[in-house]
């Protein structure tokens, strides 16, 4: 008995030592994420008009995400790969459940388990690239039409479900994360060209399947000034916030656009506008550089990954991360239509930060099990 306890104690001790002395986390990535989290909290504190409760909640999410990240980083990629189909199947199933009985504000996105309330579509952000990587892992690469078709189906089913919630933004992000895997798998450029051409042909048809409010968003995006008090309001006020920030910004908590509530959703989807207003072009460029560094680091980790699955997954996670930044940044500057995509690690709430950190946990795990580590 005593021996067992002693042995348990030594094992626990050794685990702890391993965690401390040989952290499996990638230090540059972790530091970059830490800086990002700090920037996020500082910005959010201002955007929420110094609401300590909001900051507490966000910090708690970051903490939960960090713990999950460290836990996931301990799981070898081979094990993750084994679980992948289940993970994909379960998250897709949850989407069906949401579709059947979900609740939400005009859109069925949330699943309320009384203890936690979450959006199953968030899971797909991770399980989608995992699934495609899992599928392509044993195949001959670059993939042929047959594999491309299978991937297409795997991408389409959950994306279609999410788009029907309706949450076009997330659907596009989820689809993109799967397609990035395909891209990284070395799919021939001519096939890429052919598919893009086909997509362009299908787009007018897709227009018919869009909801009115989705069409409106696209139209508003094209001509925001036509409707300055309706849908165009968001874009115009956001651009005013960004533009009035200038080179050096108005200073922290001096952004009038958000503080006086001209800027809608200023703690969530439009927080980048608050950041831009208060920290100016210099702050924006520094933040974009930080994002670029994180994406680059992800791709570097991917390039050094041990097997196909890890490589494709790590690359796709990194590129998806970039897409969030791009779509959100494009939205608040009026480059892209208004789609509800949060700015990674900065926007308040949701499962977004937790999902993101889980993704980085996968990356850490892949990094820890890279080629020359064995």
């Amino acid at each position: 008995m005593n021996a067992t306890i002693a042995s348990l104690r030594t094992r626990a001790l050794r685990f702890g030592q391993r965690l401390m002395h040989r952290p499996r986390i990638d230090l540059p990535l972790a530091i970059a994420l830490l800086i990002l989290a700090c920037v996020g909290l500082i910005t959010l504190y201002s955007a929420s008009d110094l609401d300590a409760g909001v900051i507490g909640g966000q910090a708690a999410r970051f903490l939960l995400g960090a713990i999950l990240m460290i836990v996931i980083s301990r799981i070898p990629p081979t094990l993750l790969r084994t679980w992948t189909p289940w993970f994909y199947a379960i998250s897709t199933l949850l989407l069906l459940v949401v579709a059947a009985l979900g609740e939400g504000r005009g859109a069925n996105r949330w699943l309320d388990l009384h203890v936690v309330r979450f959006q199953p579509s968030e899971f797909l952000k991770l399980s989608m690239p995992m699934m495609i990587a899992w599928y392509l892992h044993p195949r001959q690469l670059p993939p042929g039409w047959k594999d491309i078709f299978v991937v297409g189906v795997l991408v389409a089913i959950p994306s279609w479900l999410i788009a029907h919630q309706p949450d076009l933004g997330t659907a596009l992000l989820v689809a993109a994360s799967g397609i990035f895997v395909l891209f990284l798998s070395g799919i021939a450029w001519w096939r890429v060209g052919l598919m893009l051409g086909a997509l362009a042909g299908v787009a007018p048809v897709a227009w018919h399947f869009l909801h009115d409010y989705q069409r409106q968003r696209v139209l508003t995006f094209l001509h925001p000034e036509n409707d300055p008090l309706g849908n165009g309001w968001h874009i115009i006020q956001s651009m005013i916030a960004v533009g009035s920030g200038g080179v050096f910004g108005k200073g922290w908590h001096h952004g009038t656009q958000s503080r006086l509530e001209f800027l809608p959703e200023h703690t969530t989807d439009f927080i980048f506008a608050v950041y831009s207003e208060e920290f100016g072009l210099i702050g924006v460029l520094l933040l974009l550089a930080l994002y670029a560094f994180i994406v680059g680091r992800c791709l570097w980790i991917a390039a050094n990954a041990r097997d196909t699955y890890s490589r494709l997954l790590a690359g796709a996670i990194g590129m998806s991360f970039f897409v969030y930044v791009m779509v959100n940044g494009g939205m608040i500057t009026g480059l892209l239509p208004v789609v509800g995509v949060p700015l990674p690690m900065i926007s308040y709430g949701g499962t977004s930060a937790v999902t993101l950190l889980c993704g980085f946990g996968v990356l850490m795990s892949i990094h820890a099990h890279r080629k020359f580590v064995g």
């Binding site: 891209f183 070395g186 916030a241 533009g243 009035s244 009038t256 006086l260 690359g315 970039f322 480059l335």
Partner: protein, 641 residues
């Protein structure tokens, strides 16, 4: 592992490396585009967006200055500002103005006038500035709106200060009133000084001293949120209230004068002859100026407009009446001053006067004449013949030249707008007005204040005051002192510049004064019978006037004593000053429908004098009536000479 998994791992890694690099290059390119977009917004279009951001969040709120208050000479408040509520509309927040107004009028009744004025002022405001829709809401209206307020975004109940005239009609023709700024006002107003101000002086003191009363507006830079709700005040410059005005009017004398008329149409003006201060200025009937402040209803306005007694007419200032016999003291003075008569010269009054070589007769008031009279008796008994003959001797030109020195035929220059200037008849005037030649007969009747003569009560009061002060003119005025704010020093207005006396020889004035003392105190005086001077501690010098409203047809005398009949034909005048030896008050009273000046107008003047006396400090009042009785006897003795 199946044979299919025999993969080209090396090739795969290379291809991945290329793809990852390509991907990263595209990402960096995309981020560069995004960065470029930020540069475009934050550098290229920074100024534009800065302006819009500022316009978004900072609103300039005008703070209209509280209007200066108006007091009488004793500090009795005559025009006050009282808190009230109005409905304000922010036009840019209303999508369909007409629909909103229609729905709103179901909650708060809006008159067509309200809506018309509102639409007018919409044009004068920018869309984010609130425009008043309805003033002076009743309590029930505020309550009803409060219940339904949520249905009317952009419509608010706002507090403001509204003008209130506690004495109502008593001072309507002196102080005038303020009313909402209309198109005509807006055209010549300094938009900055009147930003946020809704009312402006339209008549009377309120109009004349608009500049002093208005004050200087302040402003507030208010940070507002997206709902336009003020968040905090960034900068505040307090408005400077308008000057408080102290008028020379004495509210108690004013009141007594109004009461003395007992509703009969007429006017009275009392002036301090020493400095031209107007002590009372009364027009009967009057109207309630409070009706006009927040927009008079069509019905009320129509009633006032069609009242046969014309309450809107400022009789004291603009009412034109033939002066009748009240010009006699001035005529007499002219005769002495110009050397046409000596005080001892007499005229035989037989009842009718004929121009030599003419058969047209001009009558005396006494049927068989007053006998032989000198100037003093001619004034005391109001003997027409004396003045007919005098007028004829003088000729119209000399008469005009002298009488115009007393302000006849011209505005007095009182500090009120729209003063009437009357008519001092002259050949030149007649030619200009009627393009007709002048006849000698017209000179004769001009000598007794008939014919083309028109004076305003203000003019006549001014002339009397000037006469009382031995011919020294003092422009009549109402503003006595000003005060900046409640705690500022009371600054007395400088008296109008001193001008030389119109009377060269004091003895000439003395003769006229004796005549006027006789009017009141000599048993033969036209105002003696009614006891105008009875029991008054000072000697009163006066003159009655009974002007005919129509030209007389035929030559027969009217012997009827029916006062109503006479009143329909006559305007009754009484002018006076007291104390006769050193006058401190001069009064002119006209009763539009009075039988005789002595019986109808003089008692009103006496009541004004009584009220004035009560206002005099005890030290300036004669201790007993004995002294006055003595002076009365002296006056009688003098008059008898």
């Amino acid at each position: 592992m199946s044979p299919r998994t025999l993969k080209d791992t090396h090739g795969e890694v290379t291809r991945f490396g290329v793809r990852a690099l390509t991907g990263f290059a595209l990402i960096v390119l995309a981020l560069a585009v995004l960065g470029g977009r930020f540069w475009f917004l934050q550098v290229m279009r920074h100024d534009e967006f800065s302006t819009r951001s500022l316009a978004n969040s900072v609103h300039l709120r005008h703070l209209p200055p509280p209007r200066g208050l108006i007091y009488d000479r004793n500090g009795v408040l005559l025009a006050d500002n009282v808190p009230a509520f109005r409905l304000d509309v922010v036009p840019e927040k209303i999508k369909h103005m007409d629909t909103m107004l229609a729905r709103l009028s179901a909650v708060v009744p809006l008159s067509g006038d309200d809506i018309a004025r509102f639409k007018q002022s919409l044009k004068q405001h920018r869309p984010f500035e609130s425009v008043p829709l309805k003033f002076h809401l009743g309590e029930d209206e505020i309550d009803r709106f409060a219940v339904d307020a949520w249905k009317f975004p952009g419509v608010d109940v706002a507090p403001y200060l509204t003008r209130n005239y506690p004495f109502g009609p008593e001072f309507a023709h002196v102080i005038g009133y303020v009313a909402r700024i209309d198109d005509k006002d807006a055209a010549h107003l300094d938009a900055d000084r009147y930003a946020g101000t809704t009312h402006i002086g339209k008549t009377g003191i309120e109009k004349y001293y608009e500049d002093r009363l208005h004050g200087t507006p302040g402003y507030e830079l208010v940070e507002v949120n997206a709902d336009q709700r003020p968040q905090r005040v960034l900068e505040r410059v307090a408005p400077k209230p308008g000057q408080n005005l102290y008028l020379s009017i004495d509210a108690r004398i004013q009141k007594a004068a109004i009461d003395a008329f007992a509703g009969r149409p007429g006017a009275a003006v009392a002036i301090d002859p020493r400095n031209g201060e107007v002590l009372a200025m009364v027009t009967v009937p009057s109207f309630d100026p409070n009706l006009f402040v927040n927009g008079i209803s069509q019905a009320d306005y129509s009633t006032l407009l069609h009242d046969p007694d014309k309450p809107l007419l400022n009789r004291a200032l603009r009412g034109g009446y033939p002066p009748g016999s009240t010009v006699k003291p001035f005529m007499g003075l002219a005769g002495l001053e110009l050397g046409f008569r000596k005080p001892t010269d007499t005229v035989l009054s037989t009842g009718t006067f004929y121009i030599p070589g003419s058969s047209r007769g001009y009558r005396d008031d006494q049927r068989y004449g007053a006998g032989t009279v000198n100037l003093i008796q001619a004034i005391t008994q109001s003997v027409n013949t004396y003045f007919y003959s005098l007028a004829l001797s003088m000729g119209i030109d000399k008469m005009d030249a002298y009488l115009s020195k007393f302000g006849f035929g011209a505005e007095t220059g009182i500090d009120l707008p729209a003063e009437g200037n009357g008519v001092l008849p002259s050949p030149e005037w007649k030619r200009k007005t009627w393009n007709q030649p002048w006849y000698a007969g017209e000179t004769v009747i001009a000598g007794i204040g008939q014919g083309y003569w028109v004076v305003t009560p203000m003019q006549l009061a001014h002339a009397v005051a000037m006469l009382a002060d031995a011919g020294v003119p003092h422009t009549p005025h109402l503003l006595r002192a000003t005060r900046d704010g409640r705690d500022g020093p009371v600054v007395a207005m400088a008296d109008p510049p001193e001008a030389p006396s119109a009377i060269k020889n004091p003895a000439d004035f003395e003769a006229v004064r004796q005549g006027m003392i006789g009017v009141v105190n000599d048993p033969r005086g036209t105002a003696y019978v009614t006891g105008t001077g009875k029991g008054f501690p000072y000697v009163i010098a006066g003159k009655t006037g009974t002007a005919e409203r129509f030209s007389r047809k035929g030559d027969e005398y009217i012997t009827t004593k029916d006062k109503a009949f006479l009143a329909a034909r006559h305007r009754a005048w009484f002018i006076c000053f007291t104390p006769a030896e050193s006058p401190r008050i001069a009064v002119a009273v006209v009763l539009e429908a009075g039988a005789w000046g002595g019986t109808d107008a003089a008692p009103i003047a006496r009541k004004i004098l009584d009220a004035w006396l009560a206002e005099q400090p005890a030290s300036e009042r004669p201790a007993t009536l004995t002294a006055s009785a003595a002076s009365l006897d002296d006056a009688k003795a003098e008059a008898a000479q």
